[in-house]
Amino acid sequence: METSKTNSGEILILFAHPYPQQSRVNRPLLRAVQDIPRVKIVDLYEQYPDFHINIQLEQQRLLSASLIVFHHPFYWYSAPAILKQWQDCVLEERFALSEGGFALRGKRLMSVVTVGHSKASYQLDGYDRFPIGHFLRPYEQMAIHCGMQYLAPFVVYSAHRISDAEIENRACHYRQHLLDYLSEAEHE
């Protein structure tokens, strides 16, 4: 596997939640990772409330990261709209694809999602009829198309129902997950 040439071990979290003040799960998750050195959090709705995304700035941020995290709640089996807008604007062909581009090659992409239903529901015979990975395939293929490696997603199920203690527990896992990545990246 080809590793990114520069800045290995920087994590860029693209956080997409239109009403984070009202979120039960996402805020504790974010709080658990925000003080990790070399983790940069970009709150997309906070930065671009009118969807006018600064393309140059976002591309710069991508270049200095080795792991890109799409962190968002699951809205209609996908991300809130601004993440799609970010994809459409920032991942220009001349940046991410054609010659002179492929700026993302060798980097890694990971989804961090919170969903309302249980893990049992996200099964072929469950209420949601497909496992979570199925719904994340567009991101997986986007990563592959850009020459990136797609990591297994970090999912918090039953986000409406789990206890505060359980949320804390998942937040610790999230933090550990990122810390593990960082130490691994250093050894690479």
Binding site: D50, H52, E92, E93, R94
Partner: protein, 602 residues
């Protein structure tokens, strides 16, 4: 008057008006004084260009009639009904109190009681034309002060009718004996005819005429309607002014209201101008030269009595202190009805001609004094109440613990305030314009009178404990002054401010205040966006273009502010030109960038 005279006279009137009025306005004297001066200039005591000024005055009185018709059009019956209290309340107090005082003075001076009564009644009336024209010029018609002025004028118009009916009785030769019941029936019949006609006849006629698409016929019909109503009213013994006013009110609900307004407006303006010119012409300077001290004493006495009564009414009505002077000055003069009344009294042998001539001069001079009084009031009296050591003390603020203070509650501050209110944010609102406060309070906002650029005011508004100070007063100097004060004394406050333009914006950047908005920028950009959409841009693309432009402006502002710090003496116009060039250049570059981004074209 032959045709040639008519044209020549028209030339003289228009010429005098065109010369005098703009000058008077430029000098801050107001248009009414301009017309009066024009009248004096062309009248028998000036250049003596016009001979029969009294005929003209009579003709021009119709300007007052048109004025009242237009005012009626703007008031529908419902609003008029809601004003019945002030009309009969302060209106009757003004007329009766003024009449009584003047009557007493005249009696003391040894006049017969019927002469004294006629003079008292005539002089108690004010000039509708001057007061309303001045109110309109100041945009004050709908303020509480304007409404009070209007109520009194309306009552005076109503009061003229009994006064005119009283004159023959006071005279030595009784007029034809009228039967009051029959008269009343006639009036009711005419008003009924106007209501029914206005409802059923006027609409089809207007529609029929509008269908011909001949604009001048439409104008002709509008004038015909008003003149017809005026004469009809006159025929049944109502004052033309009051009659057409009522007709206007009755037509206020009609769908052709606006057309009528537009058609009548220019005639009203010209005739009213002519009216003031003729007042100027009728001033008998001979009499003035003959007995200057007597006349000056009478004019001053008249003004004094009327102003005193009006000030007392303004106090009792609790009009804003700064506006009481305006209120009194607007109504302090003798009015055009005095001419009508005294002329009628002479005709009925109730008043001697020499008294009438004297009173004409006094009334005309008091009318001329009005613009001067207003000027004095605005220059010297009003500002004292508005700013320096205002006798209206700043309000005590009841809830100083609100997290947000809004300074300035005009059009800008009101929108900010409403958004916050809608989100249940408690705000303490400061403003120092009494009218704005009145308005806002009527809509349930808690607005306190006070000058936010004063430290003690900010203190009592709770600036120590508030989180935000939103400065939305419209004077940019004042915005900056308030910001400076707040930064110096309340460092914990986050300042949000309205910026007039680039210059104010840069002043904020220099002070380290990032949260400001240029007041017209957003709406201008949105309108530009609308324009792009009309030209075929997609809504989203148009919005993006506006975003790009906004970003440019933002960057430019930052750049200019930094340049400015280095070379302070760059001439402003050069800056502006440079700014424009930069924007255009940058835009072109941005368009190029957009074209380069191939995926957008896919």
């Amino acid at each position: 008057m032959n045709d040639h005279d008519l044209l020549a006279n028209t030339l003289i009137y228009l010429g005098a008006a065109v010369v005098a009025v703009p000058f008077a306005k430029r000098l801050g004297l107001g248009s009414v004084l301009g017309y009066l001066i024009a009248g004096i200039a062309i009248g028998p005591w000036g250049l003596a260009l016009i001979a029969n000024s009294h005929d003209i005055l009579h003709f021009a009185e119709f300007g007052v009639v048109l004025l009242l018709f237009l005012i009626g059009l703007e008031l529908n019956p419902k609003r008029l009904w809601s004003m019945r209290r002030p009309i009969f309340g302060i209106g009757s107090i003004q007329v009766i109190a003024t009449s009584l005082i003047i009557f007493a003075i005249c009696s003391l001076l040894g006049l017969s009681w019927n002469n004294a009564l006629i003079i008292a009644m005539g002089l108690s009336l004010s000039s509708t034309a001057i007061a309303l024209q001045s109110l309109k010029e100041r945009n004050q018609l709908s303020t509480p002060t304007g409404q009070s002025v209007f109520s009194i004028l309306l009552f005076q118009d109503i009061a003229v009718i009994p006064m005119l009916t009283l004159i023959p009785i006071l005279g030595s030769n009784m007029g034809e004996s009228s039967e009051p019941l029959l008269e009343a029936l006639k009036v009711i019949a005419v008003i009924g005819a106007i209501i029914i006609g206005g409802h059923f006849l006027i609409r089809p006629i207007f529609r029929f005429i509008a269908a011909t698409r001949l604009r001048e016929i439409f104008t002709a019909f509008s004038l015909l309607l008003v003149i017809g109503i005026a004469l009809l009213m006159d025929a049944v013994g109502m004052s033309m002014a009051l009659g057409t006013f009522l007709a206007g009110v009755l037509l206020a609900e009609s769908e052709y209201r606006h057309e009528l307004e537009i058609e009548i407006e220019p005639f009203k303006g010209l005739l009213l101008g002519l009216f003031f010119i003729s007042i100027g012409m009728t001033i008998d300077f001979g009499l003035l030269l003959d007995k200057p001290w007597l006349i000056i004493a009478l004019v001053l006495g008249l003004l004094l009595v009327k102003l005193a009564v009006l000030i007392a009414i303004a106090r009792a009505e609790k009009l804003p202190t700064s506006q009481q002077g305006l209120f009194a000055c607007l109504l302090g003069q003798g009015g055009e009805f005095a001419f009508v009344l005294f002329t009628a009294a002479v005709a009925a042998n109730a008043l001697e001609q020499q008294w009438a001539s004297l009173l004409f001069v006094v009334v005309a001079l008091s009318m001329m004094a009005t613009p001067l009084l207003l000027l004095l009031n605005e220059r010297f009296i009003e500002p004292r109440f508005l700013h320096l050591g205002s006798p209206q003390p700043a309000d005590t603020i009841e809830d100083p613990d609100n997290p947000v203070i809004i300074a300035g509650f005009g059009r800008f501050g009101r929108t900010v305030g409403r958004l916050l209110h809608a989100n249940r944010v408690a705000t303490t609102i400061l403003d120092h314009n009494p009218d704005q406060i009145e308005d806002a309070r009527r809509f349930g906002y808690r607005v306190y009178y006070g000058d936010a650029s004063r430290l003690d005011m900010l203190h009592s508004a709770g600036a120590e404990s508030a989180r935000l100070l939103i400065i939305t007063v419209d004077d940019p100097e004042k915005v900056l002054a308030i910001a400076d004060l707040a930064q110096q004394h309340f460092p914990q406050l986050t300042i949000l401010a309205r910026a007039r333009g680039m210059a104010t914006a840069m002043a904020f950047l220099k002070r380290g205040i990032p949260l400001f908005r240029r007041e017209i920028q957003e709406s201008a950009l949105l309108l530009g966006e609308d324009a792009l959409k009309q030209l075929g841009y997609g809504a989203f693309q148009a919005k993006q273009m506006a975003h790009i432009f906004r970003d440019h402006e933002e960057a430019l502002l930052q750049k200019m502010y930094q340049t400015d710090a280095l070379e302070k003496r760059i001439h402003i116009s050069r800056m502006a030109r440079k700014e424009l060039a930069q924007i255009l250049e940058a835009d072109e570059q941005e368009q190029q960038n957009l074209r380069d981004r191939s995926w957008r074209e896919r």
